[in-house]
Symmetry: C2
């Protein structure tokens, strides 16, 4: 059976981070559900790219578990996720079961808000280093894996982040084939 992924997007999510993750995971054969944080038919991302999610988060929550839940960055989108109990519930359950959680750019702040992964090694967009250092061990690498928590830094590291998630879910062969087809040098 294919591994499954849930990618949550909200108004203000960073579109490169969202779309790179969705596309790369689908190329690798992961069954990806794109969930909108609200019931809106269209999500307006941080640079005004308008994306239509597959489902809303309430529907997505009925189909747990997912092998990975991924949160793209974009400050406004991440802030909305930080305030959403729907996201807290999904992440808390995912964390208790030690299933993968991915967060990039501003999204590691969502983990902090929902008290996920205290003490773990993480990275993020550099602007959040101080706030994240209060709860996590902060690193400057492009992608950081600590147990079932995978974090990364920004649009420029999104493909490396997506391929790391592919490596954890699908193994080395699928990862190398996917990276080659993308013409991405790992």
């Amino acid at each position: 059976m294919s591994p499954t992924a849930l990618v949550i997007i909200a108004d203000g999510s960073e579109e490169i981070e969202a779309v790179v993750v969705i596309d790369v995971l689908r190329r690798a054969g992961v069954y990806v559900t794109v969930a909108g944080l609200t019931d809106d038919v269209t999500v307006t991302c941080s640079r005004n790219v308008k994306i239509q999610p597959d489902v809303n988060i309430a529907t997505a929550a009925k189909n747990v578990p997912y092998d990975v839940i991924i949160l793209p960055g974009g400050l406004k989108g991440a802030n909305a996720m930080s305030k959403a109990t729907s996201v807290k519930d999904l992440l808390t359950d995912q964390d208790k079961s030690c299933r993968l959680i991915g967060a990039i750019c501003a999204a590691p702040m969502v983990l902090k808000s929902h008290d996920i992964g205290a003490g773990r090694n993480v990275t993020s967009y550099p602007a959040f280093k101080d706030e994240l250092s209060e709860m996590f061990v902060y690193n400057d690498y492009d992608v950081v894996v600590d147990g079932h928590v995978v974090t990364s830094r920004g649009p420029g590291t999104a493909m490396k982040f997506a391929l790391k998630v592919v490596r954890l879910l699908c193994g080395d062969d699928v990862t190398n084939t996917t990276a080659s087809a993308l013409l991405f040098k790992l």
Copy 2:
């Protein structure tokens, strides 16, 4: 005044290539119009990401000239653009005026179909090398600029391609600032 860009998308366009270009150019201050090739409200990209264009191509054509017209790849999307007289008309006018044309992945095949840029240096997704070599001088670099024609290879080179277009439109300072904010190493 801000430079202007037209990005054309169609069902089957590669979503990473489309979104990276749109996002990076907007970050650099370029005024980007995303035009759908048909009148459909939603474009379904190659890995099923659904994007809502800003306008259809007929509306976009009323607002010429654009400082750059960019075609993302994705074979099915590129094939549709190869058959579209609306795209031929826009590209022919853009080419005659020596304004920038960008094409990535499968999209250099659209240039071939519409007889744009014969004899120029280009690159593309490697699969199209033989067909493109009939009309262009084929290169294996990630991004190739020859006059007002800029080409690139695939999703893994999309950010470098977008930043090259930024460099041509906005200069070195804006390019370096934009790349830094993306956390992308040029």
